[in-house]
Symmetry: C2
Subunit: 312 residues, 2 copies
């Protein structure tokens, strides 16, 4: 049995892609089971509830040498704690290649598209397999989520074509309305503890040499005012995680999905200096206006990578 899972702090793509890829592998004669590496966010919970699906189980510690398939991530810092003991035989991902190695030749499918599910659709079509409506809806949800319904600069023509192909199979006529309902569910944060808000979509990145480790959270919302209303609590949560995990810096970007803007909370002078020098942005009242840089993967991480890169 192959264990299939997406990254820590799973988003809709991490969960949907694990479910869809596990089913694809099983249909192809490789029995597989989807798992998650953390709690669902509100958007993903909404997507699964609308489909009448329960969440995949939390990944337990597997026996050493167990066969695993990674979706939507490849770096060890974003993966299962015991990944080094498992045998990675398959990866489907749309992120840069990090510290992954494999013990033997494996199946790797990486393309610079907006969403892992866009690649999973290709895998189905290349294998000549029909798409089941439930899988279509999971992939459709993941693509709309990852691309913020094509607002994100990570969007590619392949993602648009995938949505066009999937929406009739998924039985979704009004794609824009479907996406808005997902984004509203994601933004309905209620009395979620600040630590949970921070970690909803949070990844740790190593930069530079000597290595610095940065935690970068993103809250994509249709209601940024709600998030800024909890600014003080969020800063306290950022401070705590920074100390606890021994991080060099912590950023939390509040992305206004509908207006396509990013305002990032600035924890201390360290983060302020990096934002000023790397992005040319000066914080005001503890908030740096990063303008239209709404993609962590495409507009935040590469700039930081370059900023921290050792000079040749």
């Amino acid at each position: 049995m192959i264990a299939v899972f997406g990254h820590l702090n799973p988003d809709t793509d991490a969960i949907a892609s694990a479910l869809v890829y596990a089913r694809l592998l099983t249909r192809q004669g490789h029995p597989a089971q989807a798992y998650r590496l953390g709690e669902l966010n509100f958007e993903t919970a909404y997507v699964l509830k609308e489909l009448g699906l329960t969440a995949p189980e939390l990944l337990p510690q597997l026996a050493a040498g167990s066969e695993v398939a990674l979706v939507d991530h490849n770096e060890s810092a974003q993966s299962a704690p015991h990944l080094a003991e498992y045998e990675v035989t398959r990866v489907v991902d749309h992120h840069k290649l990090g510290d992954l190695t494999t013990a033997a030749p494996a199946y790797l499918r990486f393309e610079p598209v907006g969403c892992t599910s866009t690649l999973l659709l290709k895998l189905h079509r290349e294998a000549g397999l029909d798409i089941e409506p439930q899988d279509a809806r999971l992939m459709l949800s993941a693509i709309l989520s990852d691309t913020l319904h094509f607002r994100s600069p990570t969007t590619t023509p392949d993602d648009r074509q995938a949505v066009e192909f999937l929406s009739p199979i998924a039985g979704v006529d009004d794609v824009a309305g479907f996406a808005l309902a997902m984004f509203a569910a994601k933004s309905d944060l209620g009395d979620t503890p600040a630590e949970t808000l921070l970690k909803m979509d949070y990844k740790v990145f190593p930069f530079g040499d000597p290595e610095q480790t940065w935690g970068i959270g993103v809250i994509e919302t249709t209601n940024p005012a709600y998030v800024f209303g909890r600014q003080r609590e969020l800063l306290a949560a950022m401070d705590q995680i920074k100390a606890q995990d021994g991080l060099s810096g912590v950023l939390l970007s509040v992305v206004d999905i509908l207006n396509e803007t990013n305002r990032t909370l600035v924890l201390s002078a360290t983060e302020g200096k990096v934002l000023r020098e790397a992005f040319g942005v000066v914080a005001q009242d503890g908030v740096a206006d990063l303008g239209a840089r709404i993609s962590r993967k495409k507009q935040i991480v590469p700039t930081l990578e370059e900023y921290f890169a050792p000079q040749a």
Copy 2:
């Protein structure tokens, strides 16, 4: 212009795949040029000559940040000396994933098949592109070379299907005869210097922690008696490269293609001990009979990797 190249000490797959992938990328609107990282072996020279093709040029030092595509390898030890300065945007390979990282999301296509060209055929078919006869012949040659015409345990059903698909397009009716002619060309070593014989199909692998570095050469031949006739010269060449490159050990496997056996030259007590402990084989007269272990990738390297692995 994307520079496309295979590994150091190129074999037929490294050269053919670079040529075919460069043409595929160009046809898909990404102008590309094939290069080689070393001298052609006799088999590859024969394949190109029969097709009336000249060899790709040696890869020059490219400008920092140049876009490159790797075929048939991914580890830096087997790649261009300045690889770290280039931007790897595409890799097509059938080896285990080593120390490769990418600065941004890239196209990676890895599958555990017998030959990179088998994957290139898939890329053509997935893109709905017809195969030109010259490309068909290059891919056919590469697959027959890498799988020793299906004798190697690395052979998969995909490789067999690819040969079946390609041979009519390549105009090759007698696949077995075509393969034998290639192997005969490869075995016609004449007065090739011993250093050249050793490096014809030679790769360097890091093992264990603390890291040991081993050089492992393979001579695939239909005429092993010729190679063993030059045993003394070859051992001298192995001794020299070991000292010069500061290696922990050097192995040279003489693979009898037709009888599917591997007899490996043992340079010193160091190599003898490792062969004895890792493979349970005792050398006689400086030669260790590794039996049917004819695939370095599948039957030599994984065993050494396990042997040198730090105990958990």
